[in-house]
Symmetry: C2
Subunit: 453 residues, 2 copies
């Protein structure tokens, strides 16, 4: 099998004024060869932000001078050494992730102006690899369900999804090539799908969580949002302390399990159409497709994750804020914490046991397939900015601790993006990338990535 | 079966000047009935510290006036309401756990004078229940293997164990009735065993970890050190958002699995004697004892936890300090981080998979028993303050995510404590308490608890 083409939008010489449109791979190569500079890349990102931020509201904190200083320091250091694979890459950081040089406000007035003393592990790792922290992206309040002001770049009357709202919108709007998100229910893949970009949640624990504000620690997973699969692989390697490898195509056409999940009745017409279209095209392209039905037990996972574990662990984690700043917690979050505090402990334990029991059955689920093809979202991003959409289709995989990836393959009746979701077995993150690359090559087009209006 | 007597040292009217010797249960009852005050309790703890701290070095931060202010505030508030079950209980907090009103220095010069903006979840929960944060207890550097200055109260030439060194020593020396520790390998049960007190590590995740400095996040578990089982049950309830219940004896004599573990060859004479004596006495007392042999696969757990997961996750978590303060990291920790950074990613994944695979086999291990009786430590606390002892016997259970408890039942040839370890199935923490109560009643005596010299 011949090597597959790059997943990046297009190969071309970088043009000043449009460097913000490059992928991480393109811009780090252009910087390494001297075709452009870190400073020029940052300038174009900042310019895009200046033009569009009034409408998109993706950023919680931005310090253009600080970003430019980081860029100039890198430029002065000369050609990047091999241990700096992200040399010059601007990254957006969700505002529940600690940064030593920018505020970290958690989307809450309680943390207004809060300055952590250190970088989170994920921030320190990409920084050491040469990345430039461009700014902090808007998060729902404490990575929950109460949104900030961010809009969907494809239609600003629609939600960008949450809780990594700013990360999804900023990447889709070409303000920054890559951004960190976190997913406790569906907070990385949902905004990625709604905004028409790639979203990746690794195997639980794969990206170290030191320095993130926890929502529910048995579910919280750091993830990535980007405009190319290559970029996700590149940054993943850095976060996993690996040397980046040349992305490889799979050895053979993937064996794909079509998995409607117990929530299939929530799928709107555009999601049904996306999944059916994807399955048809992939079968035609030579993939083996078989239907995978999750065991009955799995139908309890959504509520176990969303209603039980999430509320209980949230209530425990926020004990300090509950004691001292209760009046500054939104009504929606207040209600969840109160439910968590009043919960019978046995109910929490039963939910945890269900998660463990279903995870123990995953080898059966993946016995005959390399990857699952599953719905990612109910449908297009809903209209309105007060809700961030339903996390159900993402949440069942979060509690299973499996790696998931959304690809921006389809559009709905309003012309808004609808992603598909790919799911692999625990620790099979790189197999997921390889399959995703094969699948994207058969289903995707560069025009589907981000907001190109 | 009749109710068992309390595990507390002795029932008696509280005497001023000795209130520091009361258990949590005794002192909260005495405060609630007006026999004493929160301030008097704190004064006696502080006086004990003043007398002994020069030799024991258990405290990393202590602010007597702040502790007394907390006590007086509680005393002024009148009789404790039912939602304050810890009203007046002084608690020591390991110095990797955030406190808003005391420094949190991680046992490292990097965090000299560091003041977190908020309390960790566990601190906020006990504070809201009426506990008084007495001070911060000495930790090994970042909860690793490089000790602070703490000594063993039973013999100050011997290590108190680590990394919760100050918590173990302070509780054993009657400076404070209860203290928080954390266990990544064996950092709660080992110091508890070496110092002759009770140590408890709950099911992984049972006590919320928000606000602790992570060592290895797939292993880190908050635990408790105390001088009575009742106290551990009481504080556990608060941390699990449960109302404390009257401790119950088990419905029948427990079925005990005698489990030597694959590390039995590390057991020194005093540990062998302790386990054999315990098994003999418990069988005579009516417990069903059967030998439980762990599957062969489990023999890899120690190295998976200690050499692989610990080093790799440590390296990722400490990325910030590695970038900016490498010269302030001890040589021992530096070496571990370097090993973690150089590790093949596949090695880490294999270790994680081994842990998952062994956890999936736990139902077989506990099929016929309520609790395992296992060695807790190689033997008595070793002489010298530069090492904190071998965490092997504790670490295999940490990676299995099961609840464990050490009871101060035996002494070695030097007269130093040697605890036994009890282990229950995941989420069976309360069953563990019930079995431990039955077992303690058959094996323990008040004189074995803490340093009574």
């Amino acid at each position: 099998m011949s090597a597959l083409p790059s997943t990046s939008a297009r190969a071309r010489a970088p043009r000043s004024g449009e460097l913000n449109r490059l992928t991480a791979g393109e811009l780090t190569r252009a910087i390494a060869t001297g075709e452009t500079t870190c400073e020029a890349v940052v300038r174009d990102c900042l310019e895009r932000i200046e033009t569009r931020e009034n409408e998109i509201h993706a950023w919680a904190a931005l310090d253009p001078e600080l970003a430019l200083r980081q860029a100039r320091t890198l430029d002065r250091a000369g050609p990047p050494p091999p241990d700096r694979p992200l040399h010059g890459l601007p990254i957006g950081v969700k505002d529940i992730i600690d940064t030593a040089d920018l505020p970290t406000e958690m989307g809450s007035p309680i943390y207004c102006g809060h300055r952590p003393p250190t970088d989170a592990a994920c921030v320190a790792l990409v920084r050491a690899a040469g990345a430039i922290i461009l700014g902090k992206t808007v998060t729902c309040e404490f990575a929950g369900m109460t949104p900030g002001a961010t809009t969907n770049p494809h239609n600003t009357a629609h939600t960008p999804g949450g809780s990594s709202s700013g990360s999804g919108a900023a990447v889709a709007d070409f303000m920054v090539p890559v951004a960190f998100g976190t997913q406790t229910g569906g907070s990385v893949l949902r905004p990625a799908s709604y905004c028409g970009v790639f979203g990746f949640k690794p195997t639980f624990g794969a990206f170290n969580r030191k320095g993130i504000y926890p929502a529910a620690e048995s579910l919280d997973t750091i993830g990535l949002i980007a405009r190319s699969l290559d970029d996700i692989e590149l940054v993943s390697a850095v976060l996993e302390l690996r040397a980046p490898a040349q992305p490889q195509p799979p050895a053979r056409a993937p064996r794909i399990g079509l998995c409607h999940t117990p929530l299939w009745s929530c799928a709107q017409a555009e999601t049904v159409a996306a999944i059916e279209d994807a399955a048809t095209k992939l079968a035609k392209a030579g993939a083996q497709i078989r239907t995978v039905t999750l065991p009955d037990e799995f139908s309890g996972l959504r509520d176990a994750a969303r209603e039980t574990i999430n509320n209980y662990e949230r209530a425990a984690a926020m004990a300090h804020e509950w004691s001292l700043h209760r009046e500054l917690i939104s009504e929606r979050l207040h209600k969840r914490i109160a439910l968590g505090r009043a919960m019978a402990h046995a109910e929490y334990v039963a939910a945890m046991r269900l998660g463990e029991s279903c995870r123990a059955r995953l080898p059966d689920v993946f016995q005959h397939v390399d990857v699952l093809l599953a719905p990612c979202v109910n449908g297009e991003a809903p209209r309105g900015l007060n809700e961030t959409g339903d996390p159900g289709f993402q949440a069942i995989w979060t509690i299973l601790h499996v790696p998931t990836l959304t690809l921006p393959t389809h559009r709905g009746r309003n012309g808004l993006p609808v992603g598909i979701q790919l799911v692999a077995h625990r620790h099979a993150d790189r197999q997921l990338f390889a399959c995703a690359r094969w699948i994207w090559h058969r289903l995707g087009t560069p025009e589907m990535i981000g907001y190109r209006g």
